[in-house]
Symmetry: none
Subunit: 213 residues, 4 copies
């Protein structure tokens, strides 16, 4: 069973950082608050309070407030996403999917579940991406890596088999990402649940129509 939840992976990285329970509580509280109110609207005293910890403790491990943000987002971007991508690759490649349609549906379901399971982080990343160019660049690279990596391989495979239109991969990826986001973002922003089963089926249906030659 694949771990499709950053919280779980996150816990690992936190352990590697040798965090005490209180410091982990700080991160958990920060995750919640940053996600709900935004980084700027969250004070370190808010964090301390929600974590049931003194303000001093907040600064023991993480030198600055931005340090906390980095400790939350860093793993998400630098370690967790690629790791998840790797799992995703395996899930995709290992059992060769019968056709593009099934493949697409699986990919979409996979990513939607991922998003749903990590909404708080997603919200934080969204917020920061708008004003933080560095993060934006990072996100761009992620997409590039996906295309030049396992996803690209799969795409080319289906293009050769005539099931996928012969547009540049980047264009295909854009529609894929974009369509998934069309379901995920509204839910993330409004903090509402999604039925990922139905949503992924719908999205796949549309994408198949749009991307089949």
């Amino acid at each position: 069973m694949a771990i499709n939840n950053i919280q779980a992976l996150f816990a690992e990285s936190l352990n590697e950082l040798e965090l005490t329970d209180k410091q982990k509580a700080v991160l958990r509280a920060s995750l919640t608050l940053f996600s709900e109110k935004g980084f700027n609207n969250t004070s370190t005293s808010d964090i301390a309070q929600m974590a049931g910890v003194s303000e001093g403790t907040v600064y023991k491990q993480f030198k600055t407030k931005e340090g906390i943000l980095a400790a939350i987002i860093g793993p998400f971007i630098q370690r967790v996403v690629p790791k998840a991508a790797h799992e995703f690759t395996e899930a995709v490649i290992t059992p060769p999917y019968p056709d593009f349609s099934r493949f697409l549906e699986t990919v979409i379901k996979n990513r939607m579940d991922f998003a749903v399971d990590n909404m708080p982080q997603l919200r934080i990343v969204l917020q920061e991406a708008i004003t933080n160019q560095e993060m934006l660049t990072g996100l761009g690279h992620l997409l590039d890596n996906l295309i030049s990596g396992p996803l690209g391989t799969a795409f080319r495979h289906y293009q050769r088999s005539g099931e996928l239109i012969k547009w540049p991969l980047i264009r295909i990826a854009r529609y894929l990402v974009t369509t998934v986001m069309g379901y995920v973002l509204p839910a993330a922003l409004a903090n509402q649940p999604i039925n990922t089963n139905q949503a992924s089926k719908e999205a796949a249906e549309f994408l198949i129509r749009g991307l089949t030659p």
Copy 2:
């Protein structure tokens, strides 16, 4: 030629507010700074400095910093978008478009140009929408209005003529918005230009494939 630029329409509303040159400078500076650094990371002294004005002047017309935000976003949401929607309606309805393909391309080009022409506002709205539920709701209503208004009419027309798939309008609208956003958002976030001619052609091509029965 329709005015497809909020700055222009915005100027009108500003004039109606009877703002002095300095007060307009305050709004211009705020627009720029909010867009670049975010509302929270922009101080009123930043604004005053960029506007070449004293801090007192910043507060003469707009009672609070949030008031400035409202003065920027309000017209965007409450007056300009509907107005733009109206123009867009005319553009759509008046000369009955030969086919759905042309219609779609026009709509998309129209909205992309609109977005490109108002990137700073778009960025600000995006930022705020994440933490401000009120704004989020407002945006939702906008979409509803479009569907129950002119856009919905057009959609139903093309559904009857057999050129548009008979999905719920809200689903069709989602893919439309989503696909356009797929081009606009990256540009907005990275502050990069788009070639709206090519982008709208590409987007329309994909959407036609996905939405034709």
Copy 3:
């Protein structure tokens, strides 16, 4: 008929200052606002607004906000009170009162009416007296003047006639002022009306008991 109303006398001094209608309106508004909210809690823009005047006009005649206060309180202390005292003297001396009791009642009624007619000024003076030593000194001098003036003459007269206890005049004056204030101050502070007829009768009754040998 004696003018027992500072507003009326005030009007004169204002005329002598050659104030325009608007500037008078400034003083009237200031009187009201200072009395209700206090000097510190009244902004010059409050004044301008209530006076129906621009902020600039507020400063045309009165160089500073304190200048307005002075223009209100000055006449009260420096000109109006002595003037009223003079009238009061006449009322007292001219028709030699049959006995101390009647005299006292008249004096008290006279002063209570005066206070009631000028409550706003009274409130302002009270406020300022607490933090403004200068004003406090001024008030002290007023009392001295009364005693060394007409009131003292009358007191000595009734002491000689055996109707008034032979305490130092300052002590007698203290009880007089104090007892009147006991009726006036609560009303002034709570902005409530007094029945000066009954109040002065009560006060006189008590004072007669306390001050008759």
Copy 4:
């Protein structure tokens, strides 16, 4: 020996609030400054400076400047005055006073000492009472409580024994308060000392005359 000093009782309540030395210094400085210059004319930076503390510390315990005022005045009104009243009751009731004259003298001395010992608070309350209706109401209730409480009991006792005139208690209380205030207020306002021994004797002498049948 009864504690007749709010500063002392105040110290208790402060301890209960678990204030640090610096925070107590903030209250002490505030007491002094509010009393001398008035609440409005005292800035939080004034307080910080006099307390030898940073401005941040001023706000650690008391969330707002008004909070400091409340922390000074609250105990005075809500806890200390009733407590003092209780002590005063005992002092009055326990050893049945030989006559009304002695009773009165004791009461007056007691209250005058109380006032003298707490002049700063008295000044602050006076200032605020003028513009703050809430406080005014509170003061009114205090008087009511006194009359319906121990003081009223004593008054009725002496009325029955024929030593106190049979006026309504509220009227008698007015003259009592008023006469004491006649000695206390000028001293409080001018920040001058009183000889409470002589003053209370004088005041009692006058009141006895005025209130004996």
